[in-house]
Each structure stands twice: as structure tokens, then as C-alpha cells.
């Protein structure tokens, strides 16, 4: 008898922006618009969100990333429609080049597809440690009914067959071959060409009732339920007698996070012991999984901060970031394309952040491929190792004048990392809180989308300043103009 599949840690992530629904409503001449949804700035997308959540879950697990046997990633819309989506995420989170797993895609059900596939692999013994990631940042068609609820976010679970804080138990699936949201091959944006009433009465609620009743028999203490439009979730909860689902807070803060929604809603309940029914819906399929937590799952407590943060944005900013509002004229290349020789040489150092430590003097040279000799002592003996992902700003600028499609302001900083390496990177955001001495984390970000190809690399994200530290710093601030 094998152990049930265990969850040893979880992690969550959301993009930097929050779009008030009233902004969207006003743009279309409607009154009202309740709540908000998370939205990606130009440098975030499903891949960067997935990496952020995965690294948090891995950090909470305490495991070395190279012992992870596989990555199971679910997203409605992979960053490369055809391409190395899975391989990029695996490299960015530091998984071994021998790791396996699966990319699940095509609808918001992809998150649960990834979870149950990974659980099956662990149960079967083909993976001892599995990383499950669900992320979404669907681009809703302008003017669609679900536009103001369409959010973005990511969640990750680390599964093993060893002792964990929670166990994955029963599962139920129902299918109904009905088309609701849709995006064709030639399309950039997701459309809603279906009849909302028909979907609600004949598809969604009957499926939820059937599936929910199966789960409800298992002494469920908390529910994570899908709520694609801001009303269906409450209706489903009511017919199940589920009270207020645990997922409600996530929907209120981030909107509908698509493939990530079911697992994110579960994380909201996994910071304490209990039995959670995790239900996902998309593409004519619904799946529910029961997770039983004996105690708080490591990483689950971090969700609160993620839901509470985020910068309010405008509809125009979001449309620009989604490439819906596009400037006229010629643009310059902003990054190194993933099909280039430079990336073939540099994939480990660009995505995996490898540096070359000089054996003779200890200086870390970055990136390794342009440093056959050490910048400090000239030696050519190196060991490759991951560079630190946290450091302090040594100096910086905020660039205000760049050719399109760069958008000002663009902060850039020279950073001294904890291991002594010095790097220079773009800084995420507008640099409003950037100072010499600011603490930063290196985070995967999308530099650009060029000729339709997303291009990724690292940026520095300024850590929020502790108010107590800020007061202290203000009393002896440098004489900077």
C-alpha cells in the first residue's frame, strides 16, 4: 500500500497591476463595474507568473530544485502557442535538464489537468517529487462580458510520496461538450460567443450540482469553486450549500485567474487543517479534487500579502500591455530572441542565472560565455554556479528617452548580489522607490514580444520597504538631489 500523494508546499503569485472594473465599464459607456482584477504589466505573462509561484513553492518546500523529477504546468494559453513553453519554465526555476512532466493547455481546466496528472505520476512512482504549476493571464476581447472579471495569477504545489502537510484524495470529473469562451488560431484575444443564460442553466450549474454533490458527501470544510463571470460562483455555492467558498477572496482581489483559479482558491484554505474541495471548470470539463490538510501547508500563509498588494492601473495602460493599443511607427529590437545563437550559448545563464566563479580569486563573472578570462585576475579556471537572486542596489538610473517600443520610465540598476557578483539589470516597475541601497530580488520577466515571439530575462524587483526601516533611513538620508 503506497502513501497517498502529499502536498509539502505551495506558492502563489499575482502580477503587479490591479484594474478596477469601473475603468473598463466607463470605457464602454456603462455605469458601475464592481471590484477589480489583476492585470499584467508589459513585462509579466503566464510564464513569469508561473516562475514566481513555482520558486515560492520550492522555497517553502526547502527542497533543492535539482531533485524535482518533473514539472506539470497548466495554463489556458502557453507563452509560446507552439514552442518551448515547458522547457523555458523548467529552466527558469532551475529544474534539471533530465526532468520530465507535462504541459496542459487549451482551457481553464488545464490547472486541474496538471494537478491530477502530477498526482498520478507520483502515485505511480514515476516521479518522487513533482512540481505542479497553474498560471493564466488570458487576454479578454475588448468589450466582452467577462473582460472586467478577467484576471491573472499563478499557483504552484510541490507533491511527493513522503510525509506532507496535506494529502490529495478523491477526484470527480464531469464533461459536457459545449463551447463557451473561445480563441481561434489566428486570434490574439479570447471571445465570448456563447449564450450566457444557456451556459448557466444547461451546462455550468447542472455540472456543478452533479459533481458537487459527489464531493459534498466527503465532509468538506472549505470549497474552491469556479466563478468565471462574478455571479456563477455564488450560484454554484448556493445550490451546494457551500456557504462562502474559500476562493471568494482570491476572486475579489485578482478576478478570474483561469487555470490558476481552483488551486489558488485551495491555497486560501490550506493555511489551516481541514478538507478542501477544489473544483475547476473550463472547456466543457469540470474536475473536483479533495485535499485533506493535517496542518497549515508551508507557503499557504503567503497568499494574503499577494492578495493585498498590487498597484491600481488604468484601462489604457492594460490595453497597451496587452498589445491591443499599439503605437504607430517603426520599433527597435528590445531583446535577444529565443531562436538566436546567443540564447543557444546563453540559455543557462539567461534563464538559469548561472555565473562563473573564478577558482583563483573567487570573483563571479557574469555572464560566463563572454568571460573566458576573469575580470579581476585574468585566470581562465572557473566553476559554474547559480548566482544569488537577492542583492542591494549600488547605483541606478531612470531612463526617460528611448526609441519605441521601450516605454519610459525604465529604471536600470547595478546590483551587488549576496554572493558578491555584480550585475546590471532593468528594474521592474517605474523606479519610484528605487534608491542606492534598495534591496532587490531577481525575477524572471518578459522583456518584449518581438515579431510575435516573447523574449524573457531577469529584472530586479525592489523589495517593499519596512516602514520602520524607512523612518530610520529618512533620518540619515544621503545628500542626493
Amino acid at each position: 500500500m503506497t502513501n497517498p500523494v502529499q502536498i509539502i508546499a505551495v506558492g502563489a503569485a499575482a502580477p503587479a497591476w490591479r484594474l478596477p472594473a469601473s475603468e473598463v465599464a466607463a470605457a464602454w459607456g456603462r455605469k458601475g463595474g464592481r471590484g477589480q482584477a489583476a492585470a499584467c504589466p508589459p513585462d509579466e505573462d503566464v510564464l513569469t507568473l508561473a516562475a514566481d509561484a513555482a520558486l515560492r513553492a520550492l522555497a517553502a518546500s526547502g527542497l533543492q530544485t535539482d531533485i524535482v523529477d518533473g514539472l506539470w504546468w497548466g495554463t489556458t494559453r502557453p507563452p509560446f502557442a507552439e514552442g518551448p513553453s515547458h522547457a523555458f519554465l523548467a529552466a527558469a526555476v532551475g529544474l534539471s535538464a533530465k526532468s520530465g512532466g507535462t504541459l496542459c493547455a487549451g482551457s481553464a481546466h488545464a490547472g486541474l489537468d496538471a494537478l491530477v496528472s502530477a498526482a498520478d505520476a507520483v502515485a505511480a512512482g514515476s516521479a518522487r517529487v513533482a512540481l505542479v504549476v497553474a498560471s493564466d493571464a488570458v487576454i479578454p476581447g475588448p468589450g466582452t462580458a467577462f473582460e472586467e472579471r478577467s484576471g491573472a495569477g499563478a499557483v504552484a504545489f510541490v507533491l511527493t510520496n513522503d510525509d506532507g502537510a496535506a494529502a490529495i484524495g478523491a477526484r470527480v470529473t464531469r464533461t459536457h461538450p459545449y463551447l463557451d469562451r473561445y480563441r481561434g488560431d489566428q486570434e490574439e484575444q479570447t471571445r465570448d460567443i456563447y449564450d450566457g443564460r444557456l451556459f448557466r442553466e444547461e451546462v455550468f450549474l447542472p455540472v456543478m450540482r452533479d459533481l458537487g454533490q459527489q464531493l459534498a458527501a466527503l465532509d468538506i470544510t472549505a470549497w474552491s469553486l469556479p466563478d468565471p463571470d462574478g455571479r456563477l460562483g455564488a450560484a454554484a455555492a448556493k445550490q451546494l450549500g457551500a456557504g462562502t467558498p474559500a476562493s471568494t477572496g482570491v476572486y475579489a482581489a485578482l478576478g478570474d485567474t483561469g487555470a490558476a483559479a481552483a488551486m489558488l482558491g485551495a491555497v486560501a484554505a490550506l493555511d489551516a487543517a481541514g478538507r478542501v474541495a477544489v473544483v475547476g471548470y473550463g472547456g466543457g470539463r469540470a474536475t473536483g479534487v479533495v485535499i485533506t490538510a493535517d496542518r497549515a501547508v508551508p507557503g499557504a500563509a503567503g497568499l494574503g500579502d499577494i492578495l493585498a498588494t498590487g498597484r491600481p492601473t488604468t484601462y489604457a495602460e492594460v490595453l497597451r500591455a496587452r498589445n491591443v493599443l499599439v503605437p504607430n511607427g517603426e520599433t527597435v529590437a528590445m531583446a535577444v530572441p529565443p531562436q538566436s545563437a546567443q540564447l543557444v550559448r546563453g540559455a543557462d545563464e539567461i534563464l538559469g542565472l548561472l555565473g562563473a566563479r573564478c577558482v583563483d580569486c573567487g570573483t563571479i563573472n557574469t555572464p560566463p560565455t563572454i568571460h573566458p578570462h576573469c575580470i579581476s585576475c585574468g585566470s581562465s579556471k572557473f566553476v559554474l554556479e547559480p548566482i544569488a537572486r537577492h542583492g542591494v542596489v549600488h547605483t541606478y538610473v531612470i531612463n526617460q528617452t528611448m526609441p519605441a517600443p521601450f516605454q519610459a520610465p525604465l529604471p536600470l540598476a547595478v546590483i551587488d548580489l549576496d554572493d558578491g557578483a555584480r550585475v546590471m539589470l532593468q528594474v521592474a516597475g517605474d523606479g519610484a522607490t528605487l534608491e542606492i541601497g534598495s534591496e532587490v530580488d531577481l525575477v524572471l520577466r518578459r522583456y518584449a514580444v518581438e515579431r510575435g515571439v516573447p523574449v524573457y530575462g531577469y529584472k530586479a524587483a525592489v523589495r517593499p520597504v519596512d516602514p520602520a526601516d524607512a523612518a530610520e533611513a529618512a533620518s540619515d538620508s544621503p545628500q542626493e538631489a
Binding site: 557574469t366 538610473v397 531612463n399 526617460q400 526609441p403 519605441a404 525604465l410 523606479g431 531577469y458
Partner: protein
Amino acid sequence: MAWNKVAVVGGGIIKFGELFEQSYEQMASGAFDAALATVDKGFDPLQVEAAFVATQRGTLWGQEGIGGNTVPTAIGLAGIPCTRIENACPSGSDAFRVGAMAVASGVHDVVLVIGVEKMRDKSGDEGLLARAAAGHPVYTRGETAPVLFAPFATRHMHEFGTTREMLASVAVKNHYNGARNPNAHFRNEITIEDAIKSAPVCHPLHLLDCCPQTDGAAAVLLVSAERAEEFTDNPVYVAGFGVATDHPYLHEKSTFTSLRATTMAAERAYKMAGVEPGQIDSAEVHDCFTITEILDIEDLGFVEKGKGGVASLEGETSLTGRIPVNTSGGLLAKGHPIGATGVAQIVECWSQLRGQADERQVEMRNGYALQHNVGGRGSGVSVINILTTNK
């Protein structure tokens, strides 16, 4: 050191500016003619034995991979030996150094050094560093030219209390000098307030902290010192030069309050010339941005490290100051047509040493003038030439 003495016997520049009406070839021809006209006893163009041309970036006017043959045809000397030097912002000063070595070696007696750059045939969006890729090709995009220097300003302000007013004082002084130079791109004076209130370009640098994009050309004539009197009774000699390189990317820098290429090049140039920084009477230094001049005057040893901002604000580098810097208006006011810049600085040094700088003339106590450029990725190349009237 066993090298033959080299004399500068002529130097001229064309009026710098946005020269939309002139071709690259016309600018080269104009600079050559201007240099010929300055030779006291006359100069037959056919005496030129070899030429060294500095043009940093032919792509800025639509010519890729230009060689040394464009200029000889343009100045009516097709057939002479001619080599093009491209070495980032110090291209012009390096062409001068190479020309001087050609004479010092004894291979040539009469050499033309000419710098020509067309910056404004391309719009700002397409022009210098417009790809915003001055940084590492893989790691850091969004680096335009100001990004190469602004981090030094941020750090200099942090460590030494340098202020935006001090930065602005460099722009004010160089515009004052440029207003007195008929060949400068900008001939208007500005105030500290103008500079501080100008539009932000790259924090902490604003528009008037930055040099313009300028078309221009300049030329000098070098001869072996023993033949100098054929051309003039008032020659200027090459006292020495120094070149140095530093790591090409900003994240490889160990300091952001000094440009190591400059300090190393200066050490070499002073040693070769046998002079101390205190003996320099006048200097043309690389002021692509205000912060660059502040770094330069510290790295060249004119003021103590960290005091460059204060020294500028207090007028130590003005025409009547202790060490006049950029009497021509510098890159900030005269303009920065890259290949021509270093050669034009030599022309200014030559004029100052001969007492022919008119309103801009400064006192020559020791008979030494210094010319300096720094540039390239990570400001990793510096060239310094020291000229003298001392035989």
C-alpha cells in the same frame, strides 16, 4: 624613449552644427581646407604623404563598412595612403596618436589627421545608440548613451554630495565658452536654472546635462619636428600620449566614481610627456555629459577625487580659473561629431598654445595643453594627447 619629435603645423575645423546641407565628403573637404589655411608659411596639399581618418559610425549617414578611401577622393588626394581609425568616442584622438606615431617612427614626414562625422542624417530615433543596446547584448537592454554615464552621476552624488547645481555649472561654463567660439554648435549662454529645469533624459541627467548630436569635421597637419620651420615659426609639439582600456560592461566596473580607462591613460600620457597634472595650462576633456567632465577633471588629477563638482561650481575650470577646461565649449556646446571630436579638441589646444584663441584665450604659464576622450561600451577606451610649445 627613442622617437622622433612631431610638430603640429596646422589645424582647422568647420562650423559644427546640424549640417543637413553638407555631405560627409563636403565636410571633410571643408576641414582640410580650413587646416591648410592656418599654416603660417603655406602648405601644398600634395605634400601630404599619408592620412589617418577618424569616422566612428558610417551607418549614421548610410555608409556601412567605409574604409580609408572616401576622404582622399573627397579632398582631391586620391591615391595617398589612408587608414580609417574607429575606436569609439576617442576615434579622433586615436587617429591623431596613430598619425603622430607614423611621423615619430620616421616612416612619414608629413601626415594629415582628419575626423569627420555625420550624425544628423539619421533622426534621433535611428541615430546613435538608438537601439538602446549599449549594454550587454544578452542581459541588459534599454541602455541608451546617457545610461553609460548617469549611474556614475547617481553614485558620485551619493558618495561626495555632488548636486545637480554642480552638474549644471559645467553646462553653464561650457555654453559660456561655446558662445565665444564661432565654430560651436550652440552659441547661446544658459543659466544654472535653465539646466536644472530642462527635461529629464535619464535620471539624474537632464537635457542640458547632455551633449547634442552634431555634424562636423576637423583636420590637423603633422610634420617631423626637424621640418617644422618649413611651415611655421610657431610650432606646437606632441609631448606625449596615453591610451587605456577597461572592461566593456557597466556591471564589470569596480567603481562608479571614476573612469579607470582615463586614470590609466593619464598616468601613461603624463609619464611619456614628463609632466605633472599641475603643469597643464588648458585642457579639452570629454564632456559628453556634465558628470563626465566632473569625473575627467578628477581622474586627470586637476582636482581631488570627489571635489570635481565643487571645483566646477566655484569656477576653477572657467576661462580665468586655476585650470581652464573645455575653452572651446566642449562637447556640450561645441558639439560631438564623434570622429571629429578628438581632432577638434587638438585644434583648440593648438590655438590656445599659439595664443590664437581670441576671446577664449587663457594664460599659458607652462606651455602644456591636454586633450582627452573616453568612450565606448562602459567608457572602456580612453585616449589622451598632450601638446606643448616647449621644444
